[in-house]
Structure formats: C-alpha cells, structure tokens
C-alpha cells in the first residue's frame, strides 16, 4: 500500500486516495484531503457540516449514511452535495471524512 503525508502525518493511502487508518484522521487531515475533493478550500461551514455528519455516522455504525438520509438530515439537495464535492458523496465527501472506500453494491 502506498504511503503519503497528510497534515504532517504519514498515512497508508489506497490507489484512489482513501486513507486506510481512519483512527488517525483529524480536521487538519480533512483539509488536506479536501484540496483534491472540495470545490472550495479551506472548507466552508456547509462542507464541514457534511463531513462531520458522515464521520459521526461512520463511527457509530461502521458505514457511511444513506445518501438520502445525509441530504435530509442536513437539509441539502443532492445537486448541492455534488456542487460541494464534485465526485459525489461517496468518492468525495466520504474520502475527506476519513472513511475507507465504500464497498458492496452501493
């Protein structure tokens, strides 16, 4: 697995840029990941709200929340989520939130 430095910390990162050690994530790491994923950096409050929501859900349930739930609970429509993270909720926002790449038929 290739290694990379994010916010001064060495990480194992997969070929598509997802960090493999979610426990080492920090806000500074998120900002570093956001350079490739967020439409604006440093991330404005809405981006952070989404990232924190995904991360909290992941820590509780071991998986990213359903896209529909994520939109509804934060009062964002999907189009806006794509505007914030052009690669979408899974490949963009989840990556910044320090989740591993989504798996299964999602």
């Amino acid at each position: 697995m290739p290694k990379g430095i994010l916010a001064g910390v060495e990480f194992e990162i997969d070929e598509d840029g997802f960090i493999q050690e979610p426990e080492k994530w920090s806000e500074a790491v998120a900002e570093d990941l956001a350079k490739d994923e967020s439409s604006i950096t440093p991330m404005p409050p809405d981006q952070w709200r989404l990232v924190n929501y995904i991360r909290d859900y992941y820590l509780q349930f071991g998986v990213a929340p359903p896209v529909r739930m994520l939109c509804k609970k934060n009062d964002f429509d999907l189009k806006y989520v794509y505007e914030m993270f052009p690669k979408g909720p899974a490949a963009g926002a989840c990556k910044v939130a320090g989740l591993p790449k989504p798996t299964g038929c999602v």
Partner: protein, 536 residues
C-alpha cells in the same frame, strides 16, 4: 485501419501492453451522444504500471501486484497447473465440472458468439475481448499440460510455454467478461464462454488467493464477518429501517412498521443491502406494497442474512456456499415457508439456482423471486392503482441473471405494461437483453482506471440501447425513466447516466420496478417518483 493480428500464443510474450484501446475504434453512440462516446480514458500512472499487472490492455481490474522474483512467478505457474488439475476433477469441482468439460471440448471455432458479446462489440472488436479468446488460451493450456492433446497446436506453431505473463493476462481477461452468457445463448453447440471466465476466476481465487478485492476481502469476507459487504452492521440496519419508516410516513401518510425477525412469517424477504444505503426508496416500496396487500413477511437482522448478495457466485465456490448456508439457516430459525429475493439479479441466481448444489435435505428451503408475487398483487385488485400516475415514457432493463438465466421474463413486464401507459421495450430485450456492463461484480469494482473501462466499454451497449429506446422523445424536457430491477445493474446505470449525462442531455433517469407500483397507488397523494430529481 491496420491492426496487428493477435494470436492466442501472444498472451505469453512479454510486452508493456498486449492491446491498445483506441477511442476511434469504439462502437459509435447515437444522438445526442455522438461526441461523448469519445471521452478519454484514464491511464495508470507510471508508478502503478511498475507495481501492478496491467499488460493485457493497460487497465487494472484485479489490482494484482507483480511478483517480486522469478521464483515467485514459477511458484504461481506451478500452483495454477495444480489448481487446473483440480478444476478438471470430479472430487474438486462438484459444482460446474460437466459444463466446463463440455465447453472446453466442443467449441467449433465458428465465432458465432463474437457478435453477441457487448464487450467485444462495444470495444470495436478488440481481439483480446473476443469471447472465445480466453477460452482458447485455457484450452491450449489444458491440451499442453493436462491431457496431452496439444500436438496440433505444436504443428501449427500456435502453441506457447505457460509463463506468468500469460497467467497475469488470463486472470485480467476473465475480469473483462461480465458473465452475461449471451455468448452461451447464441452458441450452436452450447459452449459457455462465460462459464469458462468464471472457472478461471475461481481457480485463481481458490488456488492462488487472487481475486478482485471488492469481491473478496471487501465483499464476501466482509459480509461473513461484519454482516454485509457494505460494512453495514445490524445497528446501522435498525437505524436505516427507522429512517425508512419516517420517510414512508412523510411521503405517503402511512404509518408502517417494517417487520424484522418475525418468527413464523410466511416469507423471509432479503434485499441487497446496497438498497438500504443507496436506494432506500426501493425496500420502502416493498414495505408499502406488502403492507397494503396484507403479506405476512419479515426481514432478518441476522448477520449475513440482511444482505442478499453472494459475491462468491462470481469468483469462488467456497465463499458462495458459506453465504448460501447462512441464508438458509436464518430461514430455518425463523420458521418461514420460503425465502424471497428482492430486486437483485445475482442474488436470484445464487440463492435460487446455484444453491441447489449446496443446500441438501431439510436445508433446501423453498426460494423464489419477488416478481411472481408482485404480479399477483398488482392484478389481484387488492391495491387501487391508477396507471395515469405513471404517464411518462418508461422502458425496462432486463438483469441477465433473472431473465436470460432464470427465464423470469413476463411478471415484471406485465406489471409495467399495466401500470405505465407509455411503456416501450428496448431492442433487444427479454432473454436476448444486453448486460448493463456492470455484471459479475463490475458495478462495484472501482479501483484505479477500471471505472473508465466499464463506462467506455462494457456499459457502452446498454447506453446505446437506452438512448435508442427513447430516441423519438429524446429532448431533455420530456422526463422519462428506465426501470432496472437489480441493485448491481442500478449501480452501473447510475454511474453510466452520470458519465454520459443522460439526465441533463436526454431527460432520462432510472429507478427499480416496485417504485412504479407505489407511484400508481391511488391513496398516496404525493408522487412517489420525483421525476425532476431522478432526471437531474
């Protein structure tokens, strides 16, 4: 256009890349995608090329690291040949030996199957994607190293020494076939090249520990360990079911308690867990319909049994059997009369068909597709339905496993013909359908440049078919939907629609099948299908 002729023996000759994909060669796409069909595909980085095996076509699907030494290469070749002997023996291949032997023996090399293959045709007829190409490679290996029938190959010079280069390309090439089995359907001899791809994948997984990571470590291994290939644990399932109940109440005004682990229910309904995460409106629609029709069913929250998927079907018989046993065991514990599979094509095949080889005696619980029951409900009069609520253009995608393999052709069509006044078929359809291009796990394989390949090549034929089906009303102002009753197909179709911008350019969106039933229900005032959102 002068293309170098590719010979079977070329597979063992080291070169950076055996086949080069030229965008100009790809099958042309209809209006308005004439230009979009030529988006450049991502190349691997130089560093990735050094580390990963990608010398078939410059695409990396399996994500296999290069062996570190000559000795390791030799060890792998030896292990492959040992595995091949097992693949051809009754004791070690109790699942698919007979069709494999017949397929290896009876190919008449007429090449009738070539034009049936959406990958081969979509690619502009790349030789390495020809459905008979990888079969011919395997056949030659068997003749030379196993049954001693290779004299003819030696005489014609189309004979090769098995080396690691050949094997690395062979396994990648087995992941360029979606196992749609359209080739087998058209073969006058009944040779099944899709099965040969499957058996190659199986040999590599069972004997060499090589499989696409999305199917194995993050797929079936994760399902058996955590409960679902999505990583969703039982607490997440409970949370999402609660969310679905809220959504149902908000959208339909109905207060429905979705039954979970209900002992003595008639039916254990198992969805692909991807539905809960990516398309919760699908299992929610099942809940609304079954509630309204008074069906006595339950979901399960048991590890493995809340996820219908069985990725072992695509690459490993052991993993397949482990998951099948768990599903059957849950049904036994709940005391249900049967298991019903939701809108998931490969789960239909794994749970209903192939598991017959695994489940014996009292474990052989009755198992069936959701579609006959849904059809019965729609035509029973139990639900008040108004087709005018679905009065927009609709077409249907046929998941290969349900339709070509199992012959479940009419129930879903009778429902849509009844409930969608502007329903039209795509060409071809039914058992002659084309794969979405995401079959056999491609929909979930997302590593490196594989997504570009499946968008540009394996999904090309499906995009053409969908756009052709709506060609008379292609303006983006006319909103229209594709019904795709399979989670894996939906994942691929979602990615294809985004890649080719079918929403903004053509006004085409997608959903499953049950959503059309709920959308037609008279007592639900708000539309269940939000056309603007679905075609955005």
């Amino acid at each position: 256009m002068s293309k170098k002729k590719t010979k079977v023996a070329d597979i063992s000759k080291p070169s950076e890349q055996m086949a080069t994909l030229d965008l100009k060669d790809l099958m042309p796409l209809p209006y308005p995608l004439t230009e979009d069909g030529l988006k450049p595909m991502k190349s691997l980085t130089e560093d990735q090329k050094c580390r990963y095996e990608c010398s078939l076509d410059g695409v990396c699907g399996v994500g296999m690291l290069k062996p570190e030494s000559k000795e390791e290469e030799e060890r792998m070749v030896k292990a492959f040949l040992e595995g091949l002997k097992k693949l051809l023996s009754k004791e070690n291949n109790w699942t698919f030996l007979q069709p494999l032997l017949l397929s290896l023996k009876y190919c008449a090399k007429c090449q009738t199957c070539n034009d049936a293959c959406p990958v081969y045709v979509g690619s502009g007829k790349q030789e390495v994607y020809r459905p008979t190409y990888r079969s011919e490679v395997l056949r030659k290996i068997v003749h030379k190293y196993i049954d001693g029938e290779g004299i003819f190959d030696r005489l014609t010079g189309d004979d090769f020494e098995l080396n690691w280069t050949a094997l690395a390309r062979l396994i990648e090439s087995a992941y360029r076939c979606t196992l749609c089995r359209r080739c087998a359907q058209t073969c006058p001899m009944g040779v099944d090249n899709g099965l040969i791809s499957h058996e190659i994948r199986k040999l590599f997984s069972q004997e060499l520990g090589i499989a696409a990571p999305e199917l194995h470590e993050k797929g079936s291994v994760q399902q058996l360990k955590v409960g679902s290939s999505t990583g969703m644990n039982p607490a997440a399932l409970a949370d999402i079911i609660e969310f679905m109940e809220e959504e149902i109440e908000e959208k339909t005004g109905k207060k429905i308690k979705i039954p979970v682990d209900k002992k003595g229910a008639d039916i254990l309904l198992i969805h692909n867990a991807g539905e809960y995460l990516a398309w919760p409106e699908n299992p929610a629609a099942f809940a609304i319909i079954f509630d309204a029709a008074g069906i006595n069913y339950t979901l399960s929250s048991d590890l493995v049994s809340y996820d219908a998927v069985n990725y072992g079907l695509w690459y490993d018989d052991f993993q397949l059997a482990r998951v099948v046993l768990k599903h059957a065991q849950t049904a036994k514990e709940l005391g249900v009369k049967k298991i019903m599979v939701g809108e998931c094509g490969h789960a239909h095949k794994a749970m209903i068909v192939i598991s017959d080889r695994v489940l014996t005696g009292e474990m052989n619980v009755p198992r069936e597709s959701c579609f006959p029951l849904l059809e019965e409900i729609v035509f029973s009069g139990k639900l008040k339905l108004d087709p005018q609520k679905n009065n927009f253009p609709v077409t249907l995608h046929d998941p290969c496993n349900m339709v070509r393999l199992m012959g479940i052709v009419e129930p879903q069509r009778r429902i849509l013909r009844e409930l969608c006044p502007q329903f039209r078929e795509m060409t071809p359809h039914g058992v002659d359908n084309y794969c979405c291009g995401g079959g056999s796990g491609f929909a979930i394989m997302q590593g490196m440049n594989f997504p570009d390949w499946k968008m540009a090549i394996s999904g090309r034929m499906k995009v053409k078919q969908v756009v052709d089906a709506f060609q008379d009303e292609i303006s983006p102002d006319i909103k229209k939907l594709l019904s795709a009753p399979c989670s894996n197909c939906k994942g691929q179709i979602r990615d294809l629609f985004r890649y080719y911008e079918l929403g903004p350019k053509c006004g085409i969106g997608y959903t499953g099948a049950v959503e059309f039933i709920v959308n037609a229900m008279v007592d639900i005032k708000q539309p269940y299908l939000d056309l603007d959102e679905l075609t955005a």
